[in-house]
């Protein structure tokens, strides 16, 4: 079964992941359409971050398949067996997938601008002038044009995370993944990051956001997905999801968090 190109950005089918004896993902399937924003919620330990990391092969999956834009991620079939892909191919696939980390992971020895142009120049081979022009546009978009020559150590958490978002966007990825992007932030600066993300969602960026920010999920998500103990137990558009959840675990979770 192959879907026609463009119909799904992400197709994850029956993904299993174990860490030793811990069975973290027990068959997760999720399809994401272009321009869709999907929020994944759930208690910690439910496997949502692990699933997100599997999508760009920061974690290897044990079985199942993950395809981004129709290309299997991290594995190829060789004599009917799945083998891990070459580093070169995995790296190329990752250029299509932006990843925003909980702890930003900006390069501390590079300025905001240098962080943003690093991959376009040294991975994509974009001319430096052009990369700088694009990076300036992106920094303006996240509201940090005046911080272009500042090192991450001098930026607040919220500013660092916005630079990190700009850095990912600079590769013009088909899919953006956000791993609890505001969990490491002081409450007073989460808003500035969520605003940027909400704008991206409304502009039609295809994104998957693991988050505990229910307000953001309500406003920005096209679909909310609830994970529990390694499986997706419920999903739906936010209005349904938050108003009339059907699963007991979802109800319990929402009552605790809202």
């Amino acid at each position: 079964m192959t879907s026609s190109p463009g119909s799904f950005v992400l197709q994850a089918t029956e993904v299993h992941k174990r860490f030793g004896r811990l069975h973290i993902l027990k068959g997760v399937s999720l399809d994401v359409r272009p321009r869709e924003t999907v929020c994944i919620i759930g208690t910690s330990g439910s496997g949502k971050t692990t699933f997100l990391r599997c999508i760009n092969h920061l974690e290897k999956i044990d079985s199942g398949s993950i395809e981004v834009n129709g290309h299997p991620i991290g594995y190829r079939t060789k004599k009917d067996r799945l083998v891990e892909d070459s580093e070169r191919n995995i790296a190329r696939q990752r250029t299509e997938i932006g990843f925003v980390f909980q702890r930003f992971n900006l390069f501390p020895h590079k300025t905001a601008l240098e962080n943003v142009i690093e991959a376009p120049v040294h991975v994509r081979g974009v001319a430096k002038d052009q990369a700088i022009a694009e990076a300036e546009t992106l920094l303006t978009r996240v509201g940090l044009a005046d911080k272009r020559d500042v090192y991450p150590g001098k930026l607040s958490g919220g500013q660092q995370q916005r630079v990190a978002i700009a850095r990912s966007l600079a590769m013009k990825p088909a899919l953006m993944l956000f791993d609890e992007p505001t969990s490491a932030l002081d409450p007073e600066v989460t808003g500035e990051v969520l605003d940027v993300m909400e704008e991206l969602a409304h502009e039609g960026t295809t994104m998957i956001v693991v988050t505990h920010e229910m307000g953001f999920a309500k406003r920005a998500a096209d679909r909310v997905v609830m994970m529990d103990e390694g499986v997706i137990i419920e999903e739906g558009p936010p209005e349904h999801f938050f108003e009339s959840p059907t699963h007991e675990r979802t109800k319990a979770f929402l009552s605790k968090i809202l």
Partner: protein, 270 residues
């Protein structure tokens, strides 16, 4: 105390204040043997550190064996062995030639140093947060590029202070090559000693080693400062660092703090 009276102070003074040409050759030999051996040590240490991280088992094994052998045996023995197994009297390196004993001395000191540098470089690489690697990966960078552009430049801040100490050591340890007949700072004094049998030439040479290591301390402070500047804006002034050289060994104390912050303890001082 009685011995001090027997010191030929005139000889000490003349060796310090009025060095001859032969002495300057010896001084220069010490400097370039140390520098070249140290550079060789850094390169070998880097290769060994990367080999240790390889997924291919035999490479990791070789890297471990290297450290085991060269950290576990005296450098003096290594110098003798290398000197004895390298044939010829003059070594032709294409662009220039080296006397066999100088070549053997540099090689032995460099290989020995590489074993220590591997540990220092490894510690530097290990001190970099795993998230840096993951950020590079997520942007589509390959491991070589991540190492070169992301990890090593940051690890350098951790590597440089102990590296400076290693070079300080190297300048002094290089005196051991006198045993294979290399003419350098120590052999120079040794020769004066054999004709005068007075402690004076050794006091003088101690002074000259002190000059070399002191000059190096200043260099080290400058290098560390420049590395720190590329990280963030507020830094100690050059003069403050120069003071630190004398009071606490050039900022080595900062070492443990780096992995946990972007600025270490200098950060608050804007």
């Amino acid at each position: 105390m009685i011995q001090l009276c027997l010191v030929n102070w005139h000889l000490v003074w003349s060796r310090i204040a009025d060095p001859n040409d032969v002495f300057f050759h010896a001084l220069w030999a010490t400097v370039y043997i140390s520098v070249v051996a140290q550079v060789l040590g850094i390169l070998l240490g880097l290769v060994a550190a990367l080999m240790r991280m390889a997924s291919f088992r035999p490479l990791r094994f070789l890297s471990g064996l290297y450290v085991l052998l060269f950290r576990g045996t005296p450098v003096l023995v290594q110098i003798m062995v290398v000197w004895l197994i390298i044939p010829g009297r003059v070594i032709d390196l294409g662009a220039f030639t080296l006397q066999q004993d100088v070549f053997a001395g540099i090689l032995a000191l460099g290989i020995n140093e590489g074993a220590y540098m591997r540990e220092i470089i490894r510690a530097g690489i290990d001190s970099i947060d795993k998230g840096q690697m993951e950020a590079g990966k997520s942007l589509g960078m390959r491991s070589g590029a991540i190492m070169r552009r992301i990890v090593l430049p940051q690890a350098a801040r951790v590597i440089v202070p102990p590296l400076g100490n290693e070079f300080n050591n190297m300048m002094k340890t290089s005196s051991l090559v006198y045993i294979i007949g290399v003419y350098e700072l120590f052999s120079d004094s040794e020769q004066i000693f054999s004709s005068s049998t007075n402690v004076a030439p050794f006091l003088a040479v101690a002074f000259w080693y002190l000059v070399l290591t002191s000059i190096w301390s200043v260099f080290q402070a400058v290098i560390e400062r420049r590395l720190a500047v590329s990280e963030h804006g507020d830094e100690l002034s050059l003069r403050e660092r120069a003071v630190a050289v004398w009071t606490e060994g050039g900022g080595v104390a900062r070492l443990g703090e780096w992995p946990f912050g972007t600025g270490g303890r200098w950060r608050g001082r804007s």
